[in-house]
Symmetry: C2
Subunit: 262 residues, 2 copies
Amino acid sequence: MMAASSRSGAADGEHGAAGQAESKKAEAGRRRPRRRDVPGKLIVVEGIDGSGKSTQLLLLEKWLRYNMFEVFRTEWNSSDIVRSITSKGKKKEALTPTTFSLLHATDFADRFERHILPLLHAGYFVLADRYVYTAYARDVTRGCDPAWVRKVYDFAIKPDIAFYFRVPLDTAMDRILSGRPKLKFYEAGADLNLSKDLYESFRIFQHRIVEQYEAMHKRESFVVMDATMPIHEQQMIMRAKVRKLLPKKLKKKTVLEVPEHV
Amino acid sequence: MMAASSRSGAADGEHGAAGQAESKKAEAGRRRPRRRDVPGKLIVVEGIDGSGKSTQLLLLEKWLRYNMFEVFRTEWNSSDIVRSITSKGKKKEALTPTTFSLLHATDFADRFERHILPLLHAGYFVLADRYVYTAYARDVTRGCDPAWVRKVYDFAIKPDIAFYFRVPLDTAMDRILSGRPKLKFYEAGADLNLSKDLYESFRIFQHRIVEQYEAMHKRESFVVMDATMPIHEQQMIMRAKVRKLLPKKLKKKTVLEVPEHV
């Protein structure tokens, strides 16, 4: 709480004049907000299922809370307003690539405008478990035009850091499928007719998603994480990166390790 | 039926070689279909409520059916898959301009890919009561970026003819509000805070929509209709325009007037 308020104060100081000039330009020319218009910080994790990104994000949240920052964590496809219809459409297996893409974009826009952006304005750390890059990767794999998908999502603010968890496909598959869960139709990419076997379809689909991530990681300035490293080591790298976003005074106060008992 | 099948045959002959070349290019470079890729014809009516466009489209449908063409008429916001959530979101009055826009785009995409495009491929006359231009006008009025909205909808095929029904605002308002219906929140543009009075808000909103139509009619090559003309006269203009789309042999067979008793 204390840290949170002094942080946003300090952030104001840091970006103050530039931030105001940006805001004015934003009002005149374009309505889309930019990172510098908001005092909060947006941290994103991306990677295929089984890359360990959600575990890492939870540890990051724990650490930020321990250091008294205000944190909001948000997941892909979790908007109330659209969830019902997305699953309804998915059940019917009646979605085309374009409707699939637009449904998820609507869901994301709802979440972005009602939660993510207001909380960034309020100075929060917003932690996003998947962000627009998940849409880029999936929708393009499904056959949507890459430039179109990027344009659809260009209402979204660029994150301060996007961590990409790079993991060998076999490692990720082992982690997910060790329990042999029942795969869902779209989750397995079964709409793409990749294989009659759902698990094989899932594997091919995940492989193509990885290709998309690898193709975009430079352009999108991902911080590439070696997701085969021990959990704690990965977390320390992330914390150090995130700490760099803080103004000097707060950076010193923010400890990297959280005591075991917390 | 007879006319319908011979028409699509004739259309094949007319566009044959060029159409195939286009298709090939479409596969290689872009996935979006073009008008020439499909044997069917897409006719659109646009204009504010009370402009008489729906009446005219029904008369056009009657005429085409009388001349034995296969016809499919489709309305804005009528997709099963998305209707429930759109009205749910509308009830909550929780939609931002972006989510409002994307919800309608999803609805439209669903309808376009499941009905409009397949029927155009099957050689139908598809009659659309409002098309992407309604989205352009409304979403931009609500504050969305014009280039963004156009990009979102660029999966949609260009219509063969888009009729725009130009009508003085007072005439349209009189036609709609003569029964003083209960206006809905979004219908009246009440989310834009134009006026505390719903009817006044509706009026200002419609005025802005008209401005958008007027701003786009040249670029989009609308056929501008004087919607104050007698119904029958307007209809004759429309039929003559649509008849021009037919191959020569069919053009001759297609009578403009439908006998009274039909």
